[in-house]
C-alpha cells in the first residue's frame, strides 16, 4: 500500500476509536449535566428518613429506593439462575459436544441470542398466565417470572463466552493435567475453568448489563410504577429502567424529569458496582480454585 493509503487507514482507525470514546463521554456528560442536580437523599428516599428506609423500618413512597432495590434483586436473581445453565451448556459445547449435536446446539444458541427481548417478555407473560390458571391462583407476573425471563435472555451470552473462553485454551495446556493422571472432569474443574475464568466473567458482566437495562421483558412480566419493596419473589416490584421509561414519557414537571435522569445515573452506578463485584468474585474464585488443590 502506498504511503497516503497507510496514513489514511491509521487516521481512520484513530477517528473510529475516538468516536467511541466521544460517544460514551457525551452520554455520561449529558446524564451528569441533566441529572446531577437531582441527585440527593430526597430523590432516593423521598420524605422518609434514609436510615429508617435502609433498615426497612419505614416504606419509601416518593423516592427511587424501591426501584433501586428491585433492580439489584432482579439482576442478581437472573444471573444466579442463568449462570449454572450457561456454564454447563458452555462446558458441554467446548468439551463434550461433537459433530451434529454440537452444531444443532450452537444454532439454537445463536437463535436464542437473536430473539427480540419483547418476545421473551411475551413468553414470560404467557407463562405467568398459564401458571396462574393451572398451578396456583396466587401466581401473577412477578419478580420471579421476570428474573426467569431475563435469564433466558442472557443465557446465550453466558454459553458463548464460556465456550469461547474454554476453546481458546491452547492444546498443550489441556494435556498437562491429563498426562499427570487427571480425569476429564478434574481437568475441566482444576485447570480449564480457572484458566477460562476471565472470559467467563466477561460474559457475566455482559449479562449483568443486559439484565439491568432491559425494559421490554420486565414491562410484561411484573414491573409496576408503584409497588414499594418487593415483599417476596412472587410479588410485583419496581425497577429503574421502567421508572426511567415512564417518567420520560409522562413527566408533569421539570423536577420529575430530573428525577428520571438521576435514576439513569444510579442505574449506571449500580452496573459499575456489580461489574466490580464480578471482578472481585472472579479473583477470589481463582484463588480458591487454583490454590485449593
Amino acid at each position: 500500500m502506498n504511503r497516503l493509503g497507510e496514513i489514511s487507514v491509521t487516521f481512520f482507525s484513530w477517528l473510529c476509536a475516538l468516536s467511541l470514546v466521544a460517544a460514551l463521554g457525551t452520554v455520561f456528560v449529558f446524564l451528569l449535566f441533566k441529572g446531577l442536580g437531582g441527585m440527593n437523599l430526597q430523590t432516593i428516599f423521598g420524605d422518609t428518613n434514609a436510615w429508617d428506609a435502609l433498615t426497612l423500618r419505614k416504606a419509601v413512597f416518593n423516592g427511587l429506593f424501591p426501584a433501586i432495590v428491585g433492580t439489584i434483586l432482579l439482576v442478581i436473581i437472573s444471573v444466579v439462575m442463568a449462570l449454572p445453565v450457561g456454564l454447563a451448556a458452555g462446558i458441554y459445547l467446548a468439551e463434550y459436544g461433537t459433530g451434529r449435536a454440537k452444531n444443532i446446539f450452537s444454532l439454537f444458541c445463536d437463535i436464542l441470542a437473536g430473539v427480540p427481548s419483547i418476545l421473551v417478555g411475551l413468553f414470560g407473560f404467557s407463562l405467568s398466565i398459564f401458571l396462574h390458571k393451572y398451578i396456583s391462583q396466587n401466581i401473577y407476573p412477578c419478580l420471579l417470572i421476570s428474573a426467569a425471563s431475563l435469564s433466558f435472555l442472557v443465557l446465550p451470552y453466558l454459553i458463548r463466552t464460556t465456550q469461547i473462553a474454554l476453546e481458546q485454551i491452547p492444546s498443550e495446556d489441556r494435556l498437562t493435567a491429563l498426562a499427570l493422571g487427571a480425569g476429564r472432569l478434574q481437568n475441566i474443574f482444576y485447570v480449564l475453568i480457572p484458566r477460562a475464568l476471565s472470559g467467563i466473567v466477561s460474559g457475566v458482566i455482559l449479562s449483568i448489563g443486559r439484565c439491568a437495562e432491559d425494559t421490554a421483558v420486565i414491562m410484561l412480566t411484573g414491573v409496576v410504577a408503584m409497588a414499594g419493596l418487593p415483599q417476596s419473589m412472587l410479588a410485583k416490584y419496581e425497577a429503574l429502567p421502567f421508572f426511567i421509561y415512564y417518567i420520560s414519557s409522562q413527566y408533569t414537571d421539570m423536577q420529575e424529569l430530573q428525577m428520571g435522569y438521576a435514576a439513569a445515573i444510579i442505574l449506571v452506578g449500580i452496573c459499575a458496582v456489580l461489574f466490580v463485584a464480578a471482578f472481585f468474585i472472579k479473583n477470589r474464585l481463582v484463588e480458591r480454585m487454583l490454590f485449593r488443590i
Binding site: R174, L175, T176, A177, L178, A179, L180, G181, P194, F291
Partner: protein, 235 residues
Amino acid sequence: MVEEDKIKIEIENLSFFYGEHRIFHDVSTKMMANKITAVVGPSGQGKSTFLMIMNRLWENIPQARLEGHVHILLKNRMTDIYARDVSLPDLRRSVGMVFQKSNPLPMSIYKNMAFPLKLAGIKNQAQIEEKVEAALRDAFLWNEVKDRLSHDARSLSGGQQQRLCIARALIIGPELMLLDEPTSSLDARAAAIIEELILLLKKRCTVFLVSHHMEQIARLADTVMALEDGKIKPV
C-alpha cells in the same frame, strides 16, 4: 525392583492416522525394561505422537485414529493399554510424560508437585510433604527450591522448570517415562543436568526418549530407533 532383560513395551501392527493422513504404517517393535530407548528422526515425522500412543494422550486430538496393539508391562503384567477396561488416569499415572516445553501449572512450586497426588485422591498432608521432598531431591531440585516452595513455579529458570516437570511426573511413581525432547529449549549447562538426571531415571523406570540431538542420544540411549516414512527402524 530391577526388571533386567524384560520386555517393557510391545507394539504390534500399529498404524496411526490424522484424518486421512497416515503417520505410521504397520509398525511393530519391542522395548526393553529399565533401558533408555531413544527415537530419532526429522521433525514432523510424528515422534511426539509416537510417545503419546504409550499413554493414550493422543485421544484428545481431534480426528486422530489408531489401529493395532500396544502392550506395556505394568505391575508385572503385560497389559493391553487399549483394552476397554483400562482406566486412563491409572494408565497415565503408570506412564509419566514430560513435554518439550516445560508446563508448570500457574500455581506455587509445592502445589505443582502435590497436584498429581491430589488428583489421585491422596489427602494425608504429611505423606504429601514427604513425597514432594523426595521427588524434588530425585530431580536435583530440592536444594534450589526448598526455601521458596510457595513461590510461583513459573518464576523458576527454564532448566529448573523442566526439572520440576520431571519431578512432578516422578512423584506418582511411574513405571515408564516418556520424554519428548526434554532439553531442546534449554542451554547446554541446564541440558547437562537433565541428561544426568535421565541416566539415573533408568534405575527406577523405563525411559522412552524422543530427540533430534544425535550427540545426546549417543550419550544416553541404550537402544536407538529411527522413525522415517511411517516406519520404525533400528539404528
